[in-house]
Symmetry: none
Subunit: 201 residues, 4 copies
């Protein structure tokens, strides 16, 4: 499905691959999921449809690679770790506010929404997503929490997977279903409540 996984016979056109991924991402951003078509991607990329069908099993897989190649582009540069100033609450607020901003930008909102739909639809793609995108990102999140654990700010027996879900999934839900305003204030409230718990205050 992608340069690194398949050993690559050496015949595949890198130019076409890039053009397809770029076109897919751009079109998803411009026309949205409902009007995103393989035909359209091929036309925009200046590529035959068969070249897409040859290398990707579905529209969702193309979109997945398009989003994946986006995150890989900035790997190493930034985003390779969550900020750690020692102040867990402030750091989390910073990150969640950034996520809120990203969701507010149509250039990201629409492709991510399209990918999310494909994942909801296709368990195989969901598994791929879980492995290739979700897990790496979760590791970063857990690393930050683990650092807090080691600093004695969080209990040692805290289940980090649950903790991560508690912090991040409210944003995801609000974003996907537009079930309420997705603001910096909301992000702050989520972080505060998650850290102290409902019982607290």
């Amino acid at each position: 499905m992608q340069r690194r996984t398949t050993p690559d016979t050496g015949r595949r056109s890198e130019a076409s691959r890039r053009a397809i991924l770029d076109a897919a991402f751009a079109l998803a951003g411009e026309v949205g999921y409902a009007k995103l078509s393989i035909e359209g991607i091929a036309a925009r990329a200046g590529v035959g449809k068969q070249t897409i069908y040859r290398w990707w099993p579905s529209k969702g897989a193309v979109l997945f690679d398009a989003v994946l190649s986006l995150t890989e582009g900035r790997e190493g540069a930034e985003g390779t770790a969550l900020p750690d100033t020692g102040d867990l609450e402030a750091d989390l607020k910073l990150v969640l506010r950034a996520t809120v901003d990203e969701f507010a930008d149509p250039a990201y909102d629409r492709p991510l929404r399209a990918l999310s739909i494909e994942i909801t639809n296709d368990p195989a793609l969901a598994a791929l997503y879980a492995e290739r995108l979700e897990r790496p990102m979760n590791e970063l999140k857990k690393a930050r929490l683990r650092a807090a654990q080691e600093a004695g700010q969080l209990p040692a027996d805290l289940d980090l997977d649950v903790a991560v879900d508690l912090i991040w999934s409210p944003l995801l839900s609000r974003w996907l279903h537009r079930s309420g305003p997705l603001t910096h204030a909301y992000a702050d409230a989520v972080v505060e409540t998650a850290l102290r718990g409902l019982y607290a205050r």
Copy 2:
């Protein structure tokens, strides 16, 4: 969009309406979102396509009504309020475990998944969903939390909307993106962690 909202000229065929909603729900459960079509719903319902287009603006709206009419069916019988034994934690676990079970049943999982996709896609439908389904359900959830507040189990200044999101959205996220096992144990862990917070223990 539906019997109760539109005053109804009196001409509409209730039989067709029911056949359409039943067909939509059944087909969504059988073939999934990707292969759900208005053509298919009309055929299954034994109805002309125009009868669907006359009364609903989109496939998602049909699905919405189909799911809505489902919850209305059981209104009054059960689900009109969350259980309240006085033990908030136990009550929440009970409810979340039931939700986990519902998501595990393909007859519910698939239509709900299909509806979720439509909502992700269509802001207008999302607003309708928020008003007609999400808000009533959230009111029930908040009512239970408010009872706990009044019993002194939760702080008076707790933002109930955030609290509800904190408890329920992890399940929604895991379900939609299949990002991890969706078990009773997970539901329990979410409730415990949400109530006590990450700092606790």
Copy 3:
């Protein structure tokens, strides 16, 4: 396949039918058989492809109807009988020369060539052609020969089918395979030789 054979449910669009047949004939004349496509016919006719597939089983069937509707257009006006001046030889030469001229006109040569190819390919179409176009035309030809028979110019026991083939098939062969010049002189020579036979002179 066509207005007259199928009883017609009354729903078919006559405008589309005509547009399709006209487009098919025109395109066959303009681009030739090799580049004649259903896609092209539909586009030229301003019609959805499905409207063609709904009513015709193959490209050849469309072309057949296009050619058929051409001959029907002039039925009654002229061509309803071969000329009969009493001079068989002169009459036949006249008809064959006209055929030669028709084959020389690209507006007829190319569609007829395309139809001929489809008939060569498709036995079902060949049968249809034999019944709907070939036989009526052969009846006209045989009628002229029969008149000559009755006038004592041809023997009573002459097999008219063979006679017709003897006169007309040389032109058809030369035309299809371009196996030699297709001229008025050739038409005359064929008529003379067929009438008198190889032994004669």
Copy 4:
């Protein structure tokens, strides 16, 4: 286009050439014209597509060579001259009956039909066919008629080209368009009528 015409640079693989022609002929016989493709021929011959495109300008040209190499295979053995027993009528009937039999054999009918279609379509191929296959065969036919002329059985001023067409084209037409039963009896009737003419009896 073919071993004998091009002087042959010496680099060409004779094995590939034969495999291609055999595959083309066999496939034409098995799947018919409509489904005959260069891709299929290459696969069947175990040859790269480029090897076909390198040496032949079109699918029809391959088919032409395939048929041509067939007739060359039996050259010298038989068919190098028409039978001449002194009885022209009997000899012609013998030959035409053999032709009828050949057309009845799908292993010959289908490739020949495919080739005929290509010729109908492609004037260049028609010219090549006329020169390389039609003319040699016509020379044989005319040779037999010339012998009859010299024996005083046919008039000296008979146009042999027209005579040949008169005898052979009815069979060709019936075969191509399936416009009637193609039997030994028909072949006999054609020979008799052609020799004596329509006026006779």
